[in-house]
Subunit: 315 residues, 2 copies
Amino acid sequence: MKTYSLDQIKSALEGVDLMPLIEEGFVAYSDGRSVVPPVGELVFKNPPGDVHIKYGYIQGDEYYCIKIASGFYNNEKLGLPGGSGMMLLFRQQTGESVCVLHDEAYLTDIRTAVAGAISAKLLAPDNVSAIGVIGTGVQARLQVEHLNGVVACKEVAVWGRTPEKVALYESDMTSKGYTVTVCDSPAIVAQRSNLIVTTTPATEPLLSANDISPGTHITAMGSDTHNKRELDGAILASADLVVADSIPQCRERGEIAWCLREGSVSEIDLVELGNVISGKVPGRTSSGQITVADLTGVAVQDIQIATVVYKSLDN
Amino acid sequence: MKTYSLDQIKSALEGVDLMPLIEEGFVAYSDGRSVVPPVGELVFKNPPGDVHIKYGYIQGDEYYCIKIASGFYNNEKLGLPGGSGMMLLFRQQTGESVCVLHDEAYLTDIRTAVAGAISAKLLAPDNVSAIGVIGTGVQARLQVEHLNGVVACKEVAVWGRTPEKVALYESDMTSKGYTVTVCDSPAIVAQRSNLIVTTTPATEPLLSANDISPGTHITAMGSDTHNKRELDGAILASADLVVADSIPQCRERGEIAWCLREGSVSEIDLVELGNVISGKVPGRTSSGQITVADLTGVAVQDIQIATVVYKSLDN
């Protein structure tokens, strides 16, 4: 069994085109060619943290994958990164362990941003006026950066709770070539943009239906648990298309789970991302539609990124 | 993050008295001082295999543990061990990864055998005439060896499906100082012994109620999934005491799950191992009782063994 460090993992990803690989993963998932059990979850109260174990395999692949990723919300005060974790590969034929990718949650960050880019490719309007970003953390950066090549727009409208973090976000993203407008509220972000990415761990809606203009796409990727929520149910209820990365997972977690519990959305109205990628179901069909992609993070993303990293490292 | 090999792990266990540690784990579990989510399970059909992810923490401990253990049933034909896996420790305060114990399922084997010894200590009759063993694999050996110090008896009555494996078992255990009697059927094993350990991956009962004499204790540790089963429901229905290592897990897997589904046992009649260890519930109270311990394997066992191994290695 081999163990690889974060530096090795980062260098292995250089030059790899992840988007088609992650797309293949979602298609395999929606086609029923993968085995993905329910997410394992371990919750800590003091200090607060949660650990997700995502695992599974694509039939006919060489490996199966177990991914562990944690978020501990007080780590920042200790000068530690909030996220930790690793991805493990094992042989499907024998169960033998193959490698530990000690990615410290980096690969989870990347595959999450790639899923956002895939969603935008399929669902964003043709002419993105500005990318609206709710939140100022790792995904607030990565989601925007991974839109490169998908969306030509370099205008970013951002809102965050903490002024210091907003200022740091503005300077970081400006130095990367984006024109950043800081907004006083999530509603103003929505007014100024027609591709919105929500990236917070909020547990109450930050955007309401009135905030959203026709022709907007929202990628909601912050809420990945039972209790997190960024969008009011009326947004999904009035949207022309609501896409789940995994319908079974979205029954239990994320924006869609809230709407199903409240009755504002029915499961029959949901579309799965892999089916939009494969063309079985149309994505955006007109410029005035409102579309929402609810991303909770699916093990097929981990399987695909871990496998390509290991193949690159093992060469 | 440190990675330790099987050889290092084996040497770290030398001189460690595991029984009180594993007992503490079961008591913490039954006292509600642990967080143990449902077992994660990944099933493979071709070739057949299953992977169990057991994970959780004891409140107030330094670490949480994620254990991965697989069994692939065709590995033997390939000259590979059937079991693989590792145990991972992370800090409860921050989520940081601490170590990978690449135990190749060894620690699972050991903590399983220790749970059998704990069950026998609490439930076996005072005078064990012979240890009855159903099966000839790793646990058929380890369960007997771990009774050393708990049960004075060195007489073993064994049954197995495959004559070559039975012969190997007989010679191995004879060389370790046991007197081994090979039996033609599980029923004959039961006739010759009053402490029986069932260690097979059977999916149909191997022992029926008529086979079991008064004053017998049975540790059923082979069945740890929804479909595995070694004991007829009438054995548990007529037993004086049925002990589950974890009542929530035994609702879903093992002998008790079959009996609950069939209605031959009610949950109200079950006792949890940690409560017998702590003395909250009596174990065997008379020599004529029939007792059954159904062991499905609980994450607290993994937490306890992984923690002591790491503390020993990190010294």
